[in-house]
C-alpha cells in the first residue's frame, strides 16, 4: 500500500475557503496558524492540555491541536477574528474588557470561543456550570474570577436577569 505523503484539504476559515496540500499528520492548529494566517489561535502546549488553541469547528468548540487538518476538510472553522460581527461574541468581548477578565490575553481567544459555544448551548448557567465549562481552558493570570464574572454578566443580560 502506498503511504500518502500529502493530501489536499480545503478548510473554510472564518468564511473564506483555504486550500492547501498538507501532510496527513498536520494539525488543524498548524493549518490555521501557518496556512490560514489565523494567528489569533494560540499554541500553549500542543497536546490538548491548555485550551489556548480552541476554535469552533462547525458548531462545537474543539482544541485545534487535537484535530487533524484533514478532519476539517470541507468544514467550517471560526476563530475570534472571524466573529467580529457576531452579537454574542461582541457582548463577551466587551464584558471581558470591562470586567478585567483580560490580563496577558494569551488564553483570551480560546476562552472567548469556549464561552460563546457554551452559552449557545446553556443560556442560563450558574457560576459552577461556567467554571466547569471553561475548565479546559487554562489561565495563569486572573485566578478565573473575573472571567466567570464576565461570562455570567453576558448570560444575565441575554436572559434579562441582572448580573
Amino acid at each position: 500500500m502506498e503511504i500518502m505523503r500529502e493530501i489536499t484539504v480545503t478548510v473554510n476559515v472564518n468564511g473564506i475557503p483555504v486550500r492547501a496540500a498538507v501532510s496527513p499528520q498536520e494539525s488543524l492548529l498548524d493549518f490555521l496558524r501557518y496556512r490560514a494566517g489565523a494567528t489569533d489561535v494560540k499554541c500553549g502546549c500542543n497536546k490538548g492540555d491548555c485550551g489556548t488553541c480552541t476554535v469552533i469547528l462547525e458548531d462545537r468548540a474543539v482544541k485545534s491541536c487535537l484535530v487533524l487538518a484533514a478532519q476539517a476538510d470541507n468544514r467550517r472553522v471560526w476563530t475570534v477574528r472571524g466573529l467580529e460581527k457576531d452579537p454574542l461574541m461582541q457582548a463577551l468581548q466587551e464584558s471581558f474588557a470591562t470586567h478585567g477578565a483580560v490580563q496577558c490575553g494569551f488564553c483570551t481567544p480560546g476562552m472567548l470561543l469556549t464561552a460563546k459555544n457554551f452559552l449557545e448551548h446553556n443560556p442560563k448557567p450558574d457560576r459552577a456550570e461556567i467554571k466547569e465549562a471553561i475548565a479546559g481552558n487554562l489561565c495563569r493570570c486572573t485566578g478565573y474570577k473575573k472571567i466567570v464574572d464576565a461570562i455570567a454578566a453576558v448570560a444575565a443580560s441575554r436572559t434579562g436577569d441582572r448580573a
Binding site: K42, C45, Q103, T108, L112, G143, Y144
Partner: protein
C-alpha cells in the same frame, strides 16, 4: 486631592486588541525569508562532552547553520539583570550560552540549528552527534554542600552564596521562652507555567543592527546579547512584545542570544519558539528550599526568639540565585518584631534545572515556614490565630531584624483582622467524612529592586497639537496593567481622556529605558517617572494659561481638556489653545523624566544589615477548607485577600493581581510540583504538571486597604508579587485546623494528608 481617572476600574488600553485576537505575540510575527531555529539539549544531567560532530547536520538540505559553543564569541558570561551598577562577584554568577566541556543539567543547550522549516531543523538535531561521558552529578543540595561532593562546575565551590542576620542574643531568647516550636519545611521546584512559551524573531537590518522581537520582562538584555557577540551595545535592539505571561520566568535571558547568533551567522531572519516540553525542561524554576525553624515565645504569647536555617537549591547555574537568597534571608523572620533572631542561609549548585526568579522571589518560601510556626505556637499557647499575629507583628516605628525601620504605616494588624473577619460565621460540616477548617497567614514583600542596584526608570510624555498625548516608556507589559497605569497617570495629570493617549512600550531603540518588569517595580518606578514628566508638562501649561486667563497659577486646575479658574468656573481656556500658544512660542510640550529609587551600598559581607529594599507591601489571607477524611482531598471553599495597596490606581487591575496571585499560589500549596528525580524531569508536560483550572478554585474575595503610604504615584504600593504571599501557609494552617495534622512539605497532596492522619492515629 480630587482624582478623576486614578482609582477607576477602566478597561486596560491593551484589552481591546487582546479580546479581538489582534495582539501580535512573539510567535505570531514572521518575516519573509525567515528561518526556524531549534535547540539541541543535553541528554544527561551531568556529563563531559567528549566531541560534537555537526558535519552530517550541516549537509542536510535546508540547513543554514549549526552552532556549538566554539562558534560563540563570548560563551562564558557573568549574569546581569538589567542593572547598570556593577554589583560584584557575590551577586553575579557564571552562565553559559551553550554547554562547553561539562554539561550541568538535563536540557542544557548544546547546539543550535537554523533551517528553512521546523521539520528540517528537527531532522538536523537528530544528525548532530554528541559523545558524552556521563558523570555522577549531585542532586541534593545537602549532599552538594558536603566536603568532597561532586563539583557541579569546573573548579568553583558548589556554594553560590551565604547570608546571615543577627539580632539580640538567640541563646538567651530561647532560654527565656516558655514554649518552643521546631519544624523542618520543604518547598519544591515549581514552574511559572505562563501559557505563552518562550519565543522571539530576530533579523539584521540594513544598518547592521541585530533586532530581536521577543517575549521578555527585561529588554535590557540587549547588552548581554552584545557581549555574547562582541558587538557594541548600540548594534543590538530588543523590541519587547506584549507578553503571554511572565511571572519571573522571562526575567532571565531566554531565546535572545540564540537568535542573535543564528542571525549573525546566516544573515536571515530567524524564529525560535520553545515547545511546552522545552519550557518545562529547560527554563528557570522557583528555588526549592529546605527550612529548619525554631521559634520561641513566652506564655503570654510574645514571640521572643526565632532561628532559621535555609538551604536553597540553585540548580545548575547561578542566574538570580544570590538575590533570591538575599530576599529569603531578609524575609526569614517574617513581618514580626522579634528581639532575638538568627538566620543563616546558603544556596547550592546541583545538577538539577537552574532556579531563578519566580513571582515571590525568595520571599514566599520562608513565608510558608514562619507562618506555619506562628500557627503552631498559637495552638500550644491556646491563642487564636489573629491575636498572636496582632500581638507580635510589625508596626510603624518597629524594625526588621536587619535594623531597617518602618517609618510609614504598617497595616498588618488591620489587614489580618479584616481578612479573618470576612470569613464570616463558622459552620459545621453536614457530612461526617468532611472536616471544615480555617487558616490565617500574614506576610510582607518588598516592591522595587534591591536598593544597592541603584535602580532607575525613565519615561517620556508628549502632547500633540490636537490635544492627544504620547507616552514612550521602555516598560515590558506582562498583562498586569503596566502600560495602563502610565496612561491613567497622564490622563489624570493632563486632564485628557484615556482614549486620547497612545503608549509605546518596550523598545530599546525608541523608548527610554524603564528597567525590568520584575520585583514589583514598574508602577513604583515608571509610574513615578511618568508622573514626574506629566507634572513638568502640566506646570508649563498652567504657567502659560495663567498669562492667557490672567489668573494666578495656584487658582487654576486642569480637567476635561480645559484649564479652568477655580474662582470663576466660567473663566477657562481649552487645552488645545494653550498647546497652540506654547507651540508657537517654542515652549516644549514634551518631557523625559528619570526616577531614582533610594540608593544604598552593596553589602560588604555575608551579614545583612540596614536597608535592602525601598519599601514593603503588607497583606493577609484567610481561607476555609473542607478536607475529606478518607481521601485527604482538600477543597478550598473560601479565600479572602486583604492588602494595603497604598492607592489602587485601577481597582480592576489591583483586584486582578490579588485574585491571580492567590490562585497562582493555591497551586503551590496543593497541586504543583515539578518532580525532578536524579536530575530527570518526571513531569514533562501540562498532562503531568497540573496547574489550577477554573473548576479547582473558589472565587477570591479581595479587600483593599488604601493607606496612601506607598512610595509609588499617589501613595501606591506594588502588589504583583506580594499577592502570592501567605495563601500557601493559610491553606496549610486551615488543613491543620480541619484535621489536626501539620503538613510541612508542599504541595499538600491528598497522599501526604492521608499518611499524616494515619500516623497521628
Amino acid at each position: 486631592m480630587e482624582l478623576n481617572v486614578i482609582g477607576k476600574g477602566l478597561p486596560k488600553v491593551d484589552a481591546w486588541a487582546k479580546v479581538k485576537g489582534k495582539t501580535v505575540y512573539a510567535d505570531d510575527f514572521s518575516l519573509p525569508g525567515m528561518l526556524y531555529a531549534k535547540v539541541l539539549r543535553s541528554k544527561y544531567p551531568a556529563a563531559r562532552i567528549l566531541s560534537i560532530d555537526t558535519s552530517r547536520a550541516k549537509q542536510l538540505p535546508g540547513v543554514h547553520a549549526v552552532l556549538t559553543a566554539k562558534d560563540v564569541p563570548n560563551n562564558n558570561l557573568r549574569a546581569k539583570f538589567g542593572q547598570s551598577t556593577d554589583v560584584g562577584a557575590q551577586f553575579e554568577g557564571l552562565y553559559r550560552v551553550l554547554a562547553e566541556e561539562k554539561v550541568r543539567f538535563l536540557g542544557e543547550p548544546v547546539a543550535l540549528v537554523a533551517a528553512e522549516s521546523l521539520q528540517i531543523a528537527e531532522e538536523a538535531l537528530d544528525l548532530i552527534e554528541v559523545t558524552y561521558e556521563p558523570l555522577p552529578g549531585v542532586f541534593d543540595p545537602v549532599e552538594a554542600l558536603k566536603p568532597g561532593a561532586y563539583p557541579v562546575g569546573e573548579n568553583e565551590s558548589n556554594v553560590v552564596s551565604r547570608f546571615k542576620i543577627r539580632k539580640g542574643d538567640i541563646d538567651a531568647g530561647f532560654a527565656a521562652a516558655d514554649v518552643i516550636v521546631e519544624n523542618t519545611y520543604h518547598v519544591p521546584f515549581v514552574d511559572h507555567a505562563y501559557l505563552e512559551p518562550e519565543s522571539g524573531v530576530a533579523w539584521l537590518d540594513e544598518d547592521g543592527v541585530i533586532n530581536i522581537r521577543v517575549s521578555t520582562q527585561v529588554i535590557e538584555h540587549f547588552r548581554t546579547v552584545a557581549e555574547v557577540l562582541g558587538l557594541p551595545q548600540n548594534r543590538v535592539r530588543v523590541i519587547g512584545t506584549w507578553l503571554g505571561g511572565g511571572f519571573g520566568g522571562k526575567e532571565d535571558i531566554t531565546v535572545e542570544s540564540f537568535l542573535a547568533l543564528l542571525v549573525w551567522k546566516t544573515g536571515r531572519p530567524v524564529k525560535l519558539t520553545y515547545t511546552r516540553e522545552e519550557s518545562l525542561l529547560a527554563h528557570s524554576k522557583r528555588h526549592p528550599f529546605l527550612m529548619k525553624y525554631k521559634t520561641g515565645a513566652t506564655k503570654d504569647g510574645r514571640i521572643i526568639a526565632l532561628e532559621a536555617e535555609l538551604i536553597a537549591d540553585a540548580g545548575a547555574y547561578t542566574y538570580l540565585t544570590p538575590w533570591v537568597l538575599l530576599y529569603a534571608t531578609v524575609n526569614a523572620a517574617g513581618p514580626y518584631d522579634i528581639p532575638n533572631v538568627k538566620v543563616d542561609s546558603v544556596a547550592v549548585l546541583t545538577n538539577n534545572p537552574f532556579t531563578s526568579a519566580n513571582r515571590g522571589f525568595g520571599a514566599i518560601q520562608p513565608n510558608v515556614a514562619y507562618e506555619s510556626q506562628v500557627d503552631e505556637l498559637a495552638r500550644v499557647l491556646g491563642m487564636d490565630p489573629l491575636t498572636i499575629r496582632q500581638k507580635n507583628c510589625l508596626r510603624q516605628g518597629a524594625s526588621l531584624a536587619t535594623g531597617f525601620t518602618f517609618d510609614r504605616y504598617v497595616a498588618l494588624p488591620e489587614v489580618a483582622e479584616k481578612a479573618w473577619q470576612a470569613l464570616g460565621p463558622a459552620k459545621e460540616s453536614q457530612d461526617k467524612r468532611i472536616r471544615i477548617g480555617r487558616g490565617l497567614a500574614i506576610g510582607m514583600m518588598s516592591y522595587g529592586r534591591l536598593t544597592f542596584l541603584h535602580d532607575s526608570s525613565r519615561s517620556y510624555v508628549k502632547l500633540e497639537l490636537d490635544g492627544s498625548a504620547v507616552i514612550r516608556c521602555g516598560v515590558p507589559d506582562l498583562g498586569g496593567g503596566q502600560a495602563q497605569a502610565l496612561c491613567q497617570i497622564v490622563a489624570e495629570e493632563l486632564g485628557i481622556p484615556i482614549e486620547k493617549i497612545k503608549i509605546y512600550i518596550s523598545d530599546t531603540a525608541l523608548t527610554p529605558l524603564a528597567g525590568t518588569t520584575t520585583a514589583t517595580r514598574q508602577l513604583y518606578m515608571s509610574g513615578n517617572a511618568t508622573l514626574k514628566a506629566a507634572r513638568e508638562i502640566k506646570e508649563r501649561l498652567l504657567t502659560k494659561a495663567s498669562t492667557m486667563l490672567n489668573v494666578r497659577k495656584a487658582y487654576l486646575k486642569i480637567e476635561n481638556e480645559k484649564i479652568v479658574s477655580l474662582v470663576e468656573p466660567g473663566n477657562f481656556v481649552s487645552l488645545k489653545d494653550v498647546i497652540a500658544q506654547c507651540s508657537s512660542e517654542g515652549i516644549e510640550l514634551f518631557c523625559e523624566a528619570q526616577f531614582n529609587a533610594p540608593f544604598t551600598d552593596i553589602p560588604a559581607s555575608e551579614l545583612i544589615t540596614g536597608q535592602t529594599h525601598p519599601d514593603f507591601t503588607f497583606g493577609a489571607y484567610a481561607v476555609e477548607v473542607a478536607v475529606d477524611l478518607e481521601t485527604g482531598v482538600v477543597e478550598v471553599q473560601k479565600v479572602v485577600a486583604c492588602y494595603d495597596v497604598g492607592k489602587a490606581l485601577n481597582v480592576l487591575n489591583v483586584e486582578g493581581q490579588l485574585e491571580g496571585g492567590a490562585i497562582y499560589c493555591l497551586g503551590y500549596a496543593l497541586m504543583e510540583e515539578l518532580v525532578v528525580d536524579q536530575g530527570r524531569l518526571k513531569t514533562p508536560s501540562f498532562s503531568e504538571y497540573l496547574i489550577p483550572t477554573a473548576a479547582d478554585v473558589p472565587d477570591v474575595e479581595t479587600i483593599l486597604v488604601e493607606s496612601g503610604s506607598g512610595l509609588g504615584p499617589y501613595g501606591a504600593k506594588g502588589v504583583g508579587e506580594p499577592a502570592c504571599n501567605s495563601i500557601a501557609p493559610a491553606i496549610l494552617n486551615a488543613i491543620r485546623d480541619a484535621v489536626g495534622v501539620r503538613i510541612t512539605s508542599l504541595p499538600a497532596t491528598p497522599e501526604k494528608i492521608v499518611f499524616a492522619m494515619q500516623k497521628k492515629q
